[in-house]
Homo-oligomer: 208 residues x 2
């Protein structure tokens, strides 16, 4: 969709529509909104985008996003460094942090092994995970990857590489979501939740 | 949703989520995508946004977006300056241009009268429309505003102000969309299309 009235507008639409999930039509709508915004607000948006790319770095320990060399979680002396939770990306770190149920540290892979998309182990932060484990001091690795085929593949790959080198390797529980109806749960989840049934009394223990 | 790991990321999310239709979660997704983009591409996005605000101006004649004082349509000697099509915004200009059925010029209001949203006639490019009409030389004003209550209000407001000052005031036809089934058309549209029925032979004339 070339608008053709204004090169600046066309340029902006091309650039904005390169973002994921934003088509030409949405890009035009956003561009028209930007035109109506205050000059100062547009400057702040433009600056924030470039600062994001220029100033954000990754934690040297866990690869989480950070403004400093060591992220806030890894730098926090109250966090338990013996428990490492392996996640796909920062959004999962955010999700787990929001539960207020986890006091360990993380290891952010930056994705999962996805052969169909050409993503192999060498594209992920896996070597540094294995080095963390081999350096010692890790008592438990929690695998908290997506419950997909790619997630399972990655889980298995990690398991094979750290098996026997760390006292405990666990995965987060798969099962019926809290508040979900059984009749609307897919068969695989329901089947797995039956196979992974836990003792009734244990399931009500609140971990802190 | 404060992420908390990185001030730069939080800042970017705040700025991006100010755009219409983009919530905090989408803003985070876009920010993470920007982090993975090439430095040069991020610079281009950032530059395009600021250039959009700084360099695009509005045509002094029709208020269409333009890089020059007079937009390409108004500056085109082949366009019929006697026919002025009144539209809400540039997206409607694009839509009409894409039909290849219109050879007149436009007048972009920049919105419609919407009392509920606090948009009155004084916020729109209405005075300049009335001046164009009063300056003479306009043979027909086509009202092509949205078929909504606000659009109708605006149509009526314009009609009252230019009535008798221009030979013809028309509106685009409302009716059943080409390819639409009657049974799925809402009652108002169907009723209006009956009231505004046209002679069969005329309805097949192709205007050029």
């Amino acid at each position: 969709m070339e608008i053709g009235f204004s090169k600046q507008l066309d340029d902006a639409i091309v650039e904005i529509s390169k973002l994921p999930g934003i088509g030409k039509r949405t890009a035009l709508r956003l561009a028209l909104h930007i035109l109506k915004m205050e000059r100062g607000d547009v400057q702040m948006l433009s600056d924030a985008i470039i600062a994001l790319k220029d100033k954000v770095c990754y934690c040297r320990e866990c690869h989480n996003l950070s403004d400093t060399e060591l992220c806030e979680i890894c730098a926090n002396p109250k966090r338990n460094k013996q428990i490492v939770c392996v996640v796909r990306d920062i959004r999962d770190v955010v999700a787990i942090e929001n539960t207020n149920q986890y006091n360990g540290v993380y290891h952010v892979l930056g994705g999962v092994i996805a052969p169909m998309e050409g993503i192999g182990p060498q594209h992920l932060n896996l070597d540094s995970l294995f080095q963390r484990v081999e350096a010692g001091g890790v008592g438990e690795v929690i695998l908290a990857l997506p419950a997909t085929v790619d997630g399972d593949t990655t889980n298995f790959y990690i398991y094979r590489n750290i098996q026997g080198k760390v006292p405990a390797i666990t995965t987060i529980a798969r099962g019926i979501g809290i508040g979900d109806e059984l009749e609307y749960t897919d068969e695989v989840t329901l089947g797995r939740s039956l196979l992974s049934r836990t003792e009734f009394e244990k399931s009500y223990i609140r971990r802190s």
